[in-house]
Amino acid sequence: MDDRLILALAGVTFRYPDAARDAVTDVSLAVRDGECVALLGPNGSGKTTLLRLALGLLRPAQGEAAILGRAAALWSRRELARLVGVVPQREETSFPLRVRDAVLLGRYARLSPWSGERPEDRAAVERALAQCDATDLADRWLTTLSGGEFQRVRLARALAQEPRALVLDEPTASLDVRHEMELFERVRALVDRERLAAVVITHQVNLAARFADRVLLLADGRAVGQGTPAAVLTRETVERVFRWPVAIEPFDDRPQMIPLRQPLP
């Protein structure tokens, strides 16, 4: 068994109850230590569903989902939280919390219900904050943070879990270019230096192409292409999937997509 293989989906098919068609059809995906995989595709193509299947939150009708070689459904939430740190697309921030305490929440899976926080937990929090360059934010209230700062804190929380894999669902939505780049650079650094595995769902095709090792392009729940960005993101494929004319220009040996003008009638 390949112990670097963290998440593995083999030919999974899934349909939500009362849905007209499958959300995901016959998709396979393998995510290993030290690599960054980007999930791309138009809205509704099944990216988040695929993620849920990979994490055992949904059970595939066909195919298998495995985590570290064991069926995803057999993993308890707690065990999984020690392995995979997820930065979800949305969360509620209805109450005031200090940054340090918010990051501390990431230690939940490693704490027993009856014991208090231990020195190693606080150390993990400090390390995670440092990794995200958020140490100076530690005593701030969550509600006072800007969008970019808040994302850094959420990433730190995921890192406080001391995971082997990071999963980020549209982490740069509503961030400006500086914070976008910072986030992707940070994830890339974590993958390279700490040998973490990373799965990123994003609409930023160009950033995905620059930072990811592999790309999985979905359309209508099917895998249109999987492989290096250069191999998958060809003009024909991109135009077909996103239904808009584009030009593909290389930059830093990576394909960059430039949408063309198409004035509406």
């Binding site: 994490l55 939430r77 740190g85 997820v86 979800p88 969360e91 209805s94 929440l105 879990q161």
Partner: protein, 313 residues
Amino acid sequence: MKWLALIALALASLVCAVMLGPSHVPTAELFSSPIVRDLRLPRALLAFLVGGALGTAGASLQALVRNPLADPYLLGLSGGAGLGAVAAIALHLAGPWALPLAAFAGALGAMGLVYRLGLVGGAELDPRVLILAGVAVGAFAAAVTTALVSLSDATELRNAFLWLWGGLSGASWDTVRVMAIYTPLPLAVLYAAARPLDLLALGDEPARHLGADVERVKRRVYVAASLLTAAAVAVSGVIGFVGLIVPHVMRTLWGHHHRTLLPAAFLGGGTLLALADTLARTAIAPRELPVGIVTALVGVPVFTLLLRRWTTA
């Protein structure tokens, strides 16, 4: 430091409850007086236990439904308990435990019904569904209660409403013993769920990703908080505002960590109710005010103050 102050306040409230009362007991005779020993002391302890149960249940339920304006009675429990109690009065059920048991049964019925409704359509105890189901069940129970009350004669009518308003006049060492044996388990369940409750505030899915078994936590918190509230209503009627106000006041001092908030809410709730009951017994002596009225009179201004801070913050 805060803890010392809270514990001191709690003890002070108990001392007040024992020393003050409508009948005059000289301090020298305090320990030998049968009135203090058999009436005031168990009543003070019962007030503390009931207030503590309501405070803790309130704090937990506010986290469960992600709504700081939630109250233990939001989930239809008071309606169900009231219906059980009024049914017992109307049916002239005998026995000293008939009324509390009937109220408890009514509350459990409401709890089960709301739980079942909370699962409808795969909702999995979605907070909004729970709240709506609670309101619906509560309204239904209140309607049936009113019907029963209107069919009974005038004195029973008045007496049923007085019971519903809440009172600790049924306090005895027997009731204290029952509460003292009963409450630790649900309280322990809630305390064990303290950290997951912190996570739950982020939303179901983020909480799941951080390792919480969301369904199990929600079930346990719901059942434990409901059991605490059901017991409180069974022994003392519907005493409002304690479960709503106390968690908020404690949160301003202890923050949102449920590992510290829940015990603080217990102590705070106990203190509040012990003091409110003392006021209820002494304010218009020899007459007694229903304690639910005192907590409402105290609770409403405090609540409006909190509401202003909450909306302007």
